[in-house]
Amino acid sequence: MNLVVALMATEQGLTKDTILSSVAGYREQSEAGASKDALEKMFERDKESLRGLGVPIETIGDYTDPDDLREARYRVPTAEYALPADIEFTPAEIALLNVAGGVWSQRSLSAQARSGLRKIRALGIAVDEPIIGYSPRISLREPSFAALQSAIEQSRVVTFPYLKPGEQAARVRRIRPLALVEYEARWHVYGIDVAIGADRTFLLSRIVGDVVISRESFEPTLRDGAGERALAGLRDVAARNSALLEVNPGSEASLRLNRRATPAEQGIRVPFVDVHVFADELASYGPEVRVVEPAELRVEVVRRLEAALGTHTGSGSGR
């Protein structure tokens, strides 16, 4: 903390020697006889953790030899550190941000959102009309989310084991991750599959092991607009895939499905993204819905019903 204050107060920057001998924290260590080496390591560590907190630390090198860091001076440029003074939030915007800050049920994301909100609230804008009566929540239970988010921020290639339904074992996928997308209450990661060199979308619930962030980086501009592309891709798939279903009127299935359906000659048509995810849902409706087409979906629903029947036949003891 003393380091931040010192680096922000200086225009020209401070040399490492000045910092180690005068900034509180280092100075005590130095007077207690800590080696220069140890102090320098401590300084490097502090610099890294401050950068991790979003504090920009500028290094002003020797103009004649930019690689020579002995005479380098360090500073925190206030313009890059502080929230830009010209960003203003209206009370209506603050009210919305207050809602946005409370949606995460997952602890670390909730803490991040609240921390961001605090910074904005410190600008001192009053909320005149809070948005009441709503409690929107985003749930996130997939442990892979955090690693994927880090990898996207750093533009690094990741690998993870991915278990496709119907396959016996998970296969390791290697992708350039570009965006995380929640669509129909399921989290997806969108990226470029390195092996095939094409865009792919993966369900986080099918990532069955650790996401490993590799040292290999990619061009950050690939991320530009990736979220919108991913969403458009999912919507395209849904528009192309449509199932023809017969639904018992008044049943739970008809209530749930009709919201998404268009009427057809024989039953209703419902768009879907993933045949397995949709088959899971349809199987849960049991006798309330019958798949007419496509055949692939029909097969998957039948398979689930058969398996559920097989597993639950008999008393279940001794198995």
């Binding site: 979003g54 941000l97 629903v301």
Partner: protein, 320 residues
């Protein structure tokens, strides 16, 4: 507020950077209020404020720092009245930029907020998205939340909520004949993409939760809300009608089971996991079993096991 969880060093540094702008903005604030704002205990907040007073500018020319070079607070106010007031500030007055993580978390939240009736038309969101992106220290990862479409039912419920009047609708509970309900709306929960209305039901004379997918033909009434102040139960609080269910499954399919395990008590035994949890009724149970196919097996109660078997059998009979 967190219950006394220790604050990590890096987290503490992040909090300290936010503390000064917050305290200066407030002028005078109680320890309790500041602790609440920062999600720490009052004792931790007091510790942070005390720590602040040893932070300051480097001393000139190798001398120790002078009092003016350090942050200072009104100690009397803190000791006697639990109030925090900064009396000397040496920097950090401006709020720091948002980190990429913080911006991403808020941006995703805003996209969900976009699905609230009336918000999108206000045009507030797009401006906010741009401001947040500009206020971040580095480019946040794209975290996108696709909003669900807003329909007549949602708009009617929203209008009733805003006007403070009851709303009538047809409600189709699982395995029951449709009923007409008049409800004083209190809160709308959005969870897993589903909308739930909580409110005081005139028919049942109690607080009830309604899944909006089961609501149709909404009509606004001119009856003012009379029971809005009564306590609202949590969305998924256990009720006396719940049954306790035991199932087993292979650990490899745990993530595929998704939210089923969120509120379950899980035990591992010979590489097979057993989850015990409460469920709202047979209806959701038998559907669950079919959804999972052979991945999970319902063990107890036996009636639930039978229901799962019959449900899957009846579903299958359609394809015979």
């Amino acid at each position: 507020m967190s219950a006394g969880r220790p604050v990590l060093a890096t987290d503490r540094a992040a909090l300290m950077l936010q503390l000064v702008p917050y305290l200066i903005g407030k002028g005078e604030v109680s320890v309790a209020e500041a602790a609440d704002e920062f999600d720490v205990t009052p004792a931790q907040m007091r510790g942070m404020v005390e720590k602040l007073t040893v932070i300051g500018l480097p001393g000139e020319g190798g001398f120790w720092q002078l009092p003016n070079d350090l942050f200072d607070i009104d100690w009397d106010l803190l000791d006697e009245r639990d109030l925090i007031v900064i009396t000397n500030s040496v920097g950090l007055e401006r709020a720091p930029r948002l980190t990429a993580r913080e911006a991403a978390a808020l941006l995703a939240g805003l996209q969900l907020a976009r699905s609230l009736p009336g918000v999108e038309e206000g045009g507030v969101i797009s401006g906010l998205l741009a401001k947040l992106a500009r206020g971040a220290s580095s480019a946040p990862a794209d975290v996108i939340v696709a909003p669900a479409p807003v329909d007549d039912v949602r708009i009617a419920v929203d209008t009733a909520l805003q006007r403070g009047v009851a709303v009538s609708f047809t409600y189709r509970a699982p395995d029951a004949a449709p009923t007409t309900r008049t409800v004083d709306p209190v809160k709308v929960h959005i969870a897993n993409g589903q909308w739930y209305l909580q409110g005081w039901c005139h028919l049942r004379k109690a607080m009830r939760t309604f899944h909006l997918d089961r609501v149709s033909d909404p009509v606004l009434t001119d009856i003012p809300i009379a029971h809005g102040e009564e306590p609202v139960p949590g969305l998924f609080e256990p009720s006396e009608h719940d049954i306790v269910v035991r199932m087993r499954y292979a650990p490899s399919v745990a993530t595929l089971l998704g939210d089923y395990l969120d509120r379950a008590d899980v035990q591992t035994e010979d590489g097979v996991w057993r989850a015990t949890r409460r469920m709202g009724g047979e209806r959701s149970l038998r559907g669950r079993a079919a959804r999972r196919g052979g991945d999970g097996e319902t063990l107890e109660p036996l009636a639930a096991r039978r229901a799962a078997e019959e449900w899957a059998g009846a579903g299958l009979a359609q394809y015979a």
